[in-house]
Assembly symmetry: C2
Homo-oligomer: 221 residues x 2
């Protein structure tokens, strides 16, 4: 089962959007993992370190699954023609187009969300209809060939869902045991539905400006 | 609160051991994040891509918390004097010495596990007593200044535990909401205690040779 995976990097991505998903998906037996960016130069992440791509957009082979992470850098990536063209072009022949977090907005800019159900980071779900998508409130949402995940850490749950789809549940379970994915969050505060009201108010306020910036960028696309 | 964090990279680390923990910890307000390796050259990970360190062992400032990830590359790192010396030297003045997955073995080689309770990836817990440590069966184990986490994804739970310790529970909860850490594994197979017997047998068999190799390396240290 020689499945080809392609992940898209752009400056100032939220690195765990990518690194969580790739840790799970790259363990599919026989998987070929391509990490593609505009050039081969190291790509700075939100955590201070950079990631070196394995290929650039021009030389990346056609993938069976393309996965787009999110992060603050989505603001610039939305207006970057090469990045959007790469996503659109890969998606035409890939079996699956997928995203983690606000990577969904890049799928939207590539025309892949129109008429689809999808999700993104909880703070940004109001932006999905700007691309003709209908938000579905789930950690991982599938609509045909389109698979979108919620914010950041949802990329790990997404990974296991996709492994099961591609390679079967037994393989997904074995990878889960290998990665000791038996999460035990010390607090229950990971979604607005269960977080403390004070936390929701504070964290939402921090995202408000970002949502507005993205809205105005998307409306001009 | 200008806390200095230092993460140790070495070739062929399991990248999510590092990337999960750093995504959480680097969001502590005022945190300074240093990613240190033997040289400034990109460090290859288990997922095909490389990570660029922000500093090398010689120039990394003294950290308040040092965190060591694991992975197959631990076999070589255990015998690398520079890596072990860096861990030992940082740990003498750091407030916390910590590890994710088999990074615990590098703490052990640096003399930090002797007489302590600790944990590591479930498949490798039998190696902890070789360093004088007592395995405690928990996802995150604290013994004074020493904080060790279980395999790979445990680094995320570890991250939130440490944020709460350093910056308080309210800050940890806000970061959790920002990272949408409300895990929903599609399967319950993340530890040998809950995994299917067939999966435990198959996955354990895959680790057996690695455990034996590490045992013989550790016995010769």
């Amino acid at each position: 089962m020689a499945i080809k995976l392609a992940f898209v990097l752009f400056p100032n991505l939220t690195q765990l959007d990518f690194t969580g998903a790739v840790q799970v998906l790259s363990r599919i037996p026989g998987a070929e993992t391509h990490v593609a960016a505009k050039t081969l130069a190291p790509v700075p992440t939100d955590c201070g370190f950079s990631i070196v791509p394995t290929t650039d957009f021009l030389t990346c082979p056609q993938a069976d699954l393309i996965c787009v992470p999110g992060g603050h850098g989505v603001e610039q990536a939305l207006e970057d023609e090469d990045t959007i063209a790469f996503v659109a072009q890969q998606a035409t022949a890939a079996k699956y187009a997928s995203s983690v977090c606000t990577g969904a907005l890049l799928l939207g800019a590539a025309g892949l969300l129109n008429g689809k159900k999808a999700t993104t980071h909880w703070a940004y779900t109001s932006l999905l209809p700007l691309f003709g998508a209908r938000h579905e409130d789930a950690r991982v949402v599938r609509d045909g060939a389109l698979i979108t995940a919620g914010g950041v850490t949802a990329g790990i749950d997404f990974g296991f869902t996709v492994v099961a789809e591609i390679a079967g549940e037994a393989v997904a379970r074995n990878i889960q045991l290998g990665l000791e994915y038996d999460p035990k969050p010390p607090f229950e505060n990971g979604s607005p539905k269960i977080a403390s009201p004070a936390s929701v108010i504070k964290v939402s306020a921090g995202f408000e400006n970002r949502v507005n910036i993205l809205k105005s960028i998307i409306e001009k696309l």
